[in-house]
């Protein structure tokens, strides 16, 4: 990575243009996406992740999310830094909601602004994939006939 890129990335975070947050409030994906609209950008790609009713044929009634909050925020910040190393992007926002969420409610929003759309799509896909792998947040699925904490897949597993 060039020194210039490191400087750019640093200044963005100091300017608080990037954001990464955890909240129990309802999420408005459109509003989150438009919190930052850089003048040099032509596209924002936003992931609006929401609670799915049917997984295969099993019906979910609602979800409950919890997090190891201080570590989750640190991991989100790391992901944003890593995204800048790989993609030509200008701004990233990541917001994850915790607590009980009904079907269709938004649990996570990832918004990436870039001069050109392709980098924004690629970075957004990379960010959600990594978030699901590394950020310490867990969901409990509550079904009509039981409930279970979902356990993901992770390269950090050591046993």
């Amino acid at each position: 990575m060039s020194e210039k890129k490191i400087e750019n990335r640093k200044s963005k975070i100091e300017d608080r243009r990037d954001f990464f947050e955890i909240t129990t409030d309802a999420l408005d994906a459109g509003a989150i996406a438009r919190r930052v609209v850089p003048k040099t950008c032509g596209a924002i790609v936003t992931l609006d992740g929401f609670v799915r009713q049917f997984t295969k044929k099993r019906e979910t009634l609602y979800l409950e999310y919890e997090a190891y909050e201080p570590m989750a925020l640190k991991e989100m910040e790391k992901l944003i830094a890593q995204a800048y190393e790989q993609f030509e992007i200008a701004n990233v926002g990541v917001v994850h909601r915790l607590g009980k969420m009904e079907i269709g409610e938004t649990s996570v929003v990832i918004s990436v602004a870039a001069p050109h759309r392709r980098s924004a799509f690629e970075a957004c896909e990379w960010l959600i994939k990594e978030l699901k792998r590394t950020v310490p947040i867990w969901k409990k699925e509550v079904y009509r006939d039981g409930e279970t904490w979902i356990e993901g897949e992770s390269q950090f597993a050591v046993n």
């Binding site: 190891y68 978030l131 947040i137 356990e151």
Partner: protein, 79 residues
Amino acid sequence: MKVQVLFFGATAEATGKREIEVNMENGAKTGDVFQRVIANFPQLQKHTLLFALNQEYSKGNETIKNGDELAIFTAVSGG
């Protein structure tokens, strides 16, 4: 020397605890703490576990200090 061990989600449910305090000898490694906790809560063994030391993923080979914050949790499932 005392360290704190936190549980979340499935590990909190399995142990019935959110946090415990563990007494360790000087020079102990993170892996020693995790092994002791798993020995005390064998129900954790059926899960794939991840470990953290002071809010960073742990490989189990770090030397712990008094007051460290450790955590034991299952593979993450946010999003």
